[in-house]
């Protein structure tokens, strides 16, 4: 056919023949995806005349036809034939008839094999939801069992642990997280000292600011804030890493090589977190108290000596040890839930995303729950 410049931008309709008799529709120019909307409109407008006895569509003037255009021609034929009017394409060029033949297949009308997905009613959704929740809980319990078995195994066989991985994750979760943990706890110490000083000023009891900061940071906020930061930084990373490995069939590959994926992937991460999070918590405690000290010395006329003295008087070794044990349990929960969500990934990229989200949310939730339990237990133990 002609070269690029001579293709018109649009189709042209010409109707000839008697109304109610044999009609010829000549379509020329261009029928393609870009002009399809206009073409369909014109076809609709062409229709409402008195029904002809037969329709011949002359394609001799057609200069450009793509598959969308060919489909529109076939749709026109189907509509005409559904009214029991004889229909015929005439003078179709070689290329046009090739496209029409390629597309002209009975399967164009095949109904979907699956009905549309968004049809569940409220009751069905509730049922699905509770089943998913129960399945989630069971999978979680199963994983906890496997993880405890893996950890126990590595206690008995320390050489089976991939220590180079443990060190790698200690660096990732611990060292790399140190700046943000320090900064946040420093600011929290600062804020607590400042806010409490406003109240304690009324009683002239500035010195108690030191006790307040020390107790709040060491018993509660140090472990809690560290846990939340580690959940956001490392719990999510563990979930995404294992989730992507699931998608890439790397976990299946490990299994076929005879490795236990939990022992291979989860145990090093959990061990690393359990070692490094208590250390981070110590740093957090230190920087929190430092924040309080700054306020005390700069605004409350306390000396460094008296502030430190009061701090040491307020907290006991028991507090510190309990806080470290607590943070170690937080670490196991965060890393464990991150890995578990990762192993639960089925499908593709979207599943990795939701696993990561759920690793962080579930991690923070568990931290808060366990922290409340600890608060009650420690009250009676002390």
């Amino acid at each position: 056919m002609k070269s690029r410049t001579s293709i018109p931008a649009l189709h042209k309709f010409e109707v000839s023949g008697s109304a109610g008799g044999e009609t010829t529709l000549t379509i020329s120019g261009r029928v393609s995806l870009e002009t399809l909307g206009k073409f369909r409109e014109d076809v609709d407008r062409f229709f409402p005349q008195p029904a002809p006895q037969g329709l011949r569509v002359d394609l001799s003037g057609l200069q450009y036809l793509d598959s969308a255009g060919a489909l529109a021609l076939l749709t026109l034929r189907r509509r005409v034939e559904s009214r029991s009017i004889p229909f015929q394409f005439v003078n179709a060029g070689e290329e046009a008839s090739r496209i029409l033949t390629l597309l002209d297949r009975p399967t164009l009308q095949t109904p979907p094999l699956l009905s549309s997905r968004r049809s569940a009613n409220l009751l069905e959704q509730a049922g699905e939801g509770s089943r998913a929740l129960a399945g989630d809980f069971l999978a979680g319990m199963e994983f906890v069992g496997e993880l405890i078995r893996g950890l126990a195994f590595s206690l008995v066989h320390p050489r089976s642990v991939r220590w180079e991985d443990v060190i790698f994750y200690m660096k990732r979760a611990g060292m790399d997280g140190l700046p943000i943990v320090s900064l946040i706890s420093f600011l929290i110490g600062l804020v607590i000292a400042f806010m409490s000083s406003l109240q304690l000023k009324q009683f002239g009891a500035y010195l108690y600011v030191a006790s307040l900061v020390a107790i709040a940071i060491v018993r509660e906020l140090g472990p809690l804030m560290t846990g939340i930061i580690v959940a956001g930084r490392s719990g999510s990373a563990f979930g995404a890493e294992i989730g992507t490995m699931m998608v890439n069939e790397e976990v299946d590959a490990l299994r076929t090589m005879g490795f236990d994926p939990v022992r291979f992937l989860a145990v090093p991460k959990v061990l690393a977190a359990m070692i490094v999070v208590p250390l981070l918590t110590l740093y957090a405690d230190f920087f929190g108290i430092l924040g309080g000290l700054l306020i005390g010395v700069m605004f409350l006329d306390l000396t460094v000596y008296s502030y430190v003295d009061w701090t040491l008087w307020s907290i006991t070794l028991f507090d510190v040890v309990a806080s470290l044990i607590k943070s170690m349990i937080f670490a196991a929960l965060i890393a464990g839930i991150g890995c578990q969500r990762g192993f639960g990934v089925r499908g593709g990229a979207a599943a990795v995303g939701s696993a990561t989200t759920s690793a962080v949310v579930a991690g923070i939730f568990l931290i808060i729950v366990v922290d409340s339990i600890f608060a009650v237990i420690l009250h009676y133990v002390r």
Partner: protein, 261 residues
């Protein structure tokens, strides 16, 4: 149906060099693709086939040299023009590259919804037609994860064809498929080429596909970082004297063709 001057090459590559850091992957490669042909880029693993393909579709820019696609110089094209140009090109990636969270219908409808102002009914009709063209009629509500590898590739092809591109690029269309499915894929490519006149550029190292589909090939080689042979695949197999070409077409390891026989 492409009513264009058939003599004018649709893609012309002139002396391109592809380089990543210090490593040169392709050096001074030139060739042309004619309208409506089924053109294959061959070569062993690591010879730069996929890199070359990514240069052709404008994902990478060459270090030196020019790539002209449908008259547009891909090395100087503005981002806005590149988008216009990309609507006329379809790419089928190795594993289909369907968006996993969308159904097949939504995957294929995506470019139509973005780049045309057709009514939803018209879009639905076109999507159904494209899926029927790749023999996936009825699968519009399936998610990619529910399909086999061959079906994913065909669905990817349906999406690549959504806007009726003038050129279709294939990265290993038969890779990872069983022989029967691979042959079906080859037939599909041929059928679409002859039916619609779409130019096909195929990157492959699968011998049955090469002979089944390609009308003209170029062969790349890792050693020379460029083209070592060009022409009709059957003729190359029969007449080429180059041992690298002979080894490739006869599926032999380099340097031991004599004793193995």
């Amino acid at each position: 149906m492409l009513s264009r001057n058939p003599e004018e090459p649709i893609i012309s590559v002139e002396g391109i060099t592809a380089r990543f850091g210090e490593e040169t992957i392709l050096a001074d490669v030139s060739f042309q693709v004619r309208r409506g042909e089924r053109f294959a880029i061959l070569g062993g693993s690591g010879c730069g086939k996929t890199v070359l393909l990514k240069h052709l579709v404008g994902l990478y820019r060459p270090y030196t040299g020019t790539v002209r696609v449908m008259g547009t110089n891909m090395t100087e094209v503005e981002e806005a023009d590149l988008i216009e140009l990309r609507k006329k090109m379809g790419v089928l990636f190795q594993s289909g590259a369907l968006l996993g969270s969308l159904t097949l219908y939504e995957n294929v409808a995506l470019p139509l919804q973005a780049y045309t102002d057709l009514s939803p009914a018209a879009i639905e009709e076109i999507v159904r037609m494209k899926l029927a063209l790749v023999n996936l009629e009825g699968y519009q509500n399936h998610l990619p994860e529910e399909l086999s590898g061959g079906m994913k590739k065909r669905a990817g092809l349906a999406r690549a064809m959504a806007l009726d591109p003038e050129i279709l690029f294939f990265d290993e269309p038969s890779g990872g498929l069983d022989p029967v499915t691979a042959a079906e894929m080859d037939n599909l490519i041929k059928g679409i080429n002859t039916g619609m006149g779409t130019t096909m550029v195929i990157v492959t190292h699968d011998l049955p596909s090469i002979f089944g589909v390609a009308s003209r090939v170029i062969m790349l080689d890792k050693g020379v970082r460029g083209i070592i042979a060009e022409g009709d695949p059957s003729t190359l197999r029969e007449t080429s004297q180059d041992p690298r070409v002979v080894h490739f077409f006869n599926r032999q390891m380099a340097g031991r063709d004599q004793e193995e026989r």
